[in-house]
């Protein structure tokens, strides 16, 4: 992160100023409730959203990520149970979000049984879900066919697509397909060309929400936490007044604002990962027994017309 990055205070559910996000980013999560206010997103943790008064929010959607169904290692022996917790919390929200975005790693090993279990549980929310794949979702022998058969209807290439909802343009990108030696996440020329034409007809005042599994901004390339051609994708978004980029993959909340672009990563519903550089390698991080729920979460986004930023609320499963 360069020092020129403009960060603005964004209070998470713990009330911590996000300027301090480098200190607090070793979180995983249940989900984020996203509010788009004036085209900028703001996140509210699920706990606070549950506690919040039920003031009608014009337009709210939800982000969950990295459910890794099938994961059973010591960091979380039952990833399905923590996903269940997240879904139960979502079902209890006072205002039902318009839909849900899942930013990938639905499954741990792309097994049919893992996708089945995830679908059954996430289906309990009764919400429409928009998926993009994580690298763990493309591990079938045909390297992604299982994902596309299940989630790829109407998408292009490895599973990218766009849609419009309440005047907001949403773009789901795939940066985990056909990765090459030595590289980071990758969108590839075909997808970049599609993105350019997809955005071409939009007025600059259209709020745009872009979501993909691996962060499109460079968080920590040493651990593969970035996208090689992410900057090229973002160059197409510079002219828009409000851009929100939602990612997963790193299993902790990180946020930054650069010009009109707000970047946000969601917690996992399965297991936390260490903060960048604080361990020999990324990977499942074991936390003290009873503390796991503090590291897992869901995010909600409220989209409120006006001049304020879009509100993102990160909610841990517990704590």
């Amino acid at each position: 992160m360069s020092t020129s990055d403009q960060t603005r205070p964004l209070l998470d559910d713990d009330g911590i100023d996000r300027r301090g996000f480098l200190k607090c980013m070793n979180w995983a999560g249940t989900g984020i409730l996203w509010t788009l206010a004036g085209g900028l997103p703001q996140g509210i943790g699920l706990d606070r959203a549950l506690a919040a008064d039920a003031t009608p929010l014009p337009f709210t959607f939800l982000q969950i990520s990295d459910s890794h169904v099938g994961f059973d290692k010591p960091a979380n022996p039952n990833a399905l149970a923590t996903l269940q917790e997240a879904i139960d919390r979502i079902k209890a929200l006072p205002v039902k979000p318009a839909f849900m975005i899942h930013t990938g790693d639905i499954s741990h090993l792309s097994k049919a049984s893992e996708f089945d279990n995830a679908d059954k549980l996430i289906g309990e929310s009764g919400m429409q879900v928009f998926y993009v794949p994580g690298e763990h979702d493309l591990l079938d022998e045909q390297q992604g066919k299982a994902y596309l058969d299940r989630y790829g209807k109407g998408s292009k290439g490895a599973g990218w697509y766009s849609f419009d909802r309440d005047g907001v343009h949403f773009v789901g990108l795939v940066n985990v397909a056909g990765l090459t030696a030595g590289g980071l996440g990758k969108l590839g020329p075909e997808q970049l060309a599609w993105l350019k034409s997809d955005l071409a007809g939009l007025s600059a005042s259209t709020p745009v929400v872009v979501f993909a599994h691996i962060p499109l901004w460079s968080i920590y390339p040493e651990w593969g936490w970035g996208t090689d051609d992410g900057a090229e994708a973002l160059s197409n978004l510079k002219r828009f007044g409000s851009v929100t980029v939602l990612n997963g993959h790193i299993h902790q909340v990180m946020q930054k604002v650069e010009g009109n672009v707000t970047f946000h990563t969601a917690r996992s519903t399965a297991f936390p990962q260490p903060a960048p550089g604080t361990a020999p390698a990324p990977g499942p991080m074991k936390v003290p027994a009873g503390d796991l729920g503090k590291y897992l979460g869901v995010a909600t986004v409220d989209f409120v017309r006006g001049s304020q930023p879009l509100a993102i609320v990160d909610r841990p499963l517990a704590g």
Binding site: L139, L148, S155, P221
Partner: protein, 137 residues
């Protein structure tokens, strides 16, 4: 959403399988993998139908050794010790393991001399090289 039915990009253009040895896979649980590796290491090359063997450990998102020199005919086994899966893939697509979960392994016999670069298809910053020299006469 709208648009044509989704399509996977086709598999990359065919490489000739003519000179390619076929991969053998060993997917075993902790104990089995350990025993297998031990027995391979212990086996005298001339006594083993599979020829000489070598092992690459996968730990902390790193292949060790990252550079390995072997003689043609050697079977290399990769063992994953991390709590997250890895997937060993040759850059030229000569071999590709299934996803290797914790304590699972994958073996491949290198029968032709050359330099074989590989990486983890899940974490492509993980890279390694197998240098295969001609079999000693």
């Amino acid at each position: 959403m709208s648009g044509p039915a989704s399509q996977l990009p086709g598999p990359p253009g065919g490489h000739s399988p003519a000179n390619r040895p076929s991969p053998t896979q060993h997917r075993a649980h902790l104990v089995a993998a350990g025993l297998l590796a031990l027995s391979w290491l212990a086996a005298a090359p001339e006594a083993s139908a599979a020829g000489p063997t070598a092992t690459v450990q996968i730990e902390n998102f790193t292949f060790t050794p990252a550079q390995l020199s072997i003689e043609a005919g050697t079977t290399v086994t990769w063992i994953n010790h991390d709590d997250i899966p890895h997937l060993v893939a040759a850059s030229d697509k000569a071999f590709r393991s299934p996803p290797l979960d914790t304590d699972e392994s994958f073996s491949f016999t290198f029968s032709t001399p050359g330099t074989f670069d590989y990486f983890c298809a899940l974490h492509p910053r993980m890279t390694g090289t197998i240098q295969v020299t001609a079999k000693a006469k």
